[in-house]
């Protein structure tokens, strides 16, 4: 077996541990403290924000236009509408702004 193969296997195991680990820890407690529950409820906004925020540092006019369109559409539309509108705005804006 090649080194590459073992890197892939170990990487897969490490990844699965992160995906099941939080549950294994939390499920050891019979009751969840209200503050822990508040923390868990904050997880989606907290984690997903970190995947977007640093992108703003390198964003030019076209990227900002796409994000603004996405935000506006998200007030009314569903996920698909918002995604397509944002992507369309990005492609159009890049024709002009590069």
């Amino acid at each position: 077996m090649s080194t590459t193969f073992w890197i892939i296997i170990a990487g897969a195991i490490a990844t699965y541990l992160t995906r099941i680990g939080g549950h294994l820890v939390i499920s050891r407690f019979d009751t969840i403290h209200p503050r822990v529950e508040a923390g868990l409820n904050a997880v989606p906004a907290a984690v997903l924000t970190t995947l977007v925020a640093p992108e703003l540092l390198n964003a030019g006019p076209a990227e900002w236009a796409a994000l603004v369109v996405t935000a506006v559409v998200s007030l009314r539309g569903g996920l698909m509408a918002m995604f397509l509108a944002g992507a369309a705005a990005l492609i159009v804006a890049r024709q002009f702004a590069g």
């Binding site: 090649s2 590459t4 193969f5 073992w6 890197i7 892939i8 296997i9 170990a10 990487g11 897969a12 490490a14 990844t15 992160t18 995906r19 099941i20 680990g21 939080g22 549950h23 939390i26 499920s27 009751t31 209200p34 503050r35 822990v36 508040a38 923390g39 868990l40 409820n41 904050a42 997880v43 989606p44 906004a45 907290a46 984690v47 997903l48 924000t49 970190t50 995947l51 977007v52 925020a53 640093p54 992108e55 703003l56 540092l57 990227e63 796409a66 994000l67 996405t70 935000a71 998200s74 007030l75 996920l79 698909m80 918002m82 995604f83 397509l84 944002g86 990005l90 492609i91 890049r94």
Partner: protein, 242 residues
């Protein structure tokens, strides 16, 4: 119709409802799967190895970091550690989603955690928040198409990677931020949403500038979660127990 037939047809429609919701994810992740395959071969992976990594690790950003380091001949243990670091945010997803799928049989739960990606968590969590049950059929409908497209497109990227046209003009490099922003905004009715977003955004940008990637994800996420933990429970909409 017997009760069993009713529940089977309910499962089937739940499954297809999940499949419908998976479509934006399939579209947004396709370029990254192809790009991963192309980069993997470029960095010394075989087509089979690129396919295996997508099938077994199944985490886009961590796979990119993994092959990047592999191409730079970094020590194997450090590559695995980096994959672990990039994927560490899933610990939080896992703790959050466990509450929603605890009623599934253990085997189904084990499989459910295997496909627990960013969009999988966000869409499932949004469903739970709207008061609907997160069933296994629905969850699989949401996750399975993304997984299958991901591994097939990775292999295609590895085979034909050099043929990708101008990715910048097509906006491919910026599709995921757009998608993730949409997911963040989808949670805006949650208590403490704005403070959490501001705390996470500020912390992740500062960490990105100082500590560097991928640690900015975990640091930013922990900042937002800690804020929700520290603020008095009446702000967070969680009732204190007597």
């Amino acid at each position: 119709m017997s009760a069993q037939a009713i529940s089977e047809s309910g499962d089937r429609s739940d499954f297809w409802q999940g499949v419908r919701l998976s479509m934006p994810v399939v579209v947004a992740s396709a370029p990254f799967a192809v790009l991963f395959g192309a980069l993997a071969v470029d960095n010394g992976f075989s087509v089979l190895e690129a396919f295996l990594m997508s099938a077994l690790v199944y985490g886009g950003a961590s796979q990119m970091v993994g092959i990047q380091l592999f191409g730079q001949h970094v020590a194997p243990w450090l590559i695995v550690l980096s994959i672990f670091a990039v994927n560490f945010r899933h610990v939080l997803y896992s703790a959050g989603i466990g509450r929603r799928i605890a009623h599934w049989p253990v085997i189904q739960q084990a499989l459910g955690y295997f496909i627990l990606t960013d969009p999988q968590f966000a869409v499932a969590e949004a469903r739970a928040q709207s008061g609907q049950t997160v069933g296994f059929a629905w969850y699989l409908g949401l996750g399975l198409p993304v997984y299958l497209f991901w591994i097939v497109e990775s292999a295609l990227g590895a085979l034909f990677g050099k043929l990708i046209p101008d990715t910048h003009a097509l906006g491919i490099d910026f599709l995921l931020p757009i998608y993730f922003l949409g997911l963040v905004l989808g949670f805006r009715k949650r208590p403490l949403w704005l403070p959490v977003v501001i705390a996470s955004a500020a912390a992740s940008i500062i960490a990105y500038k100082t500590v560097g990637s991928p640690w900015h994800v975990s640091i930013g996420a922990i900042a937002g979660v800690l804020l929700a933990v520290i603020l008095p429970p009446h702000h967070s909409g969680v009732k204190a127990r007597p």
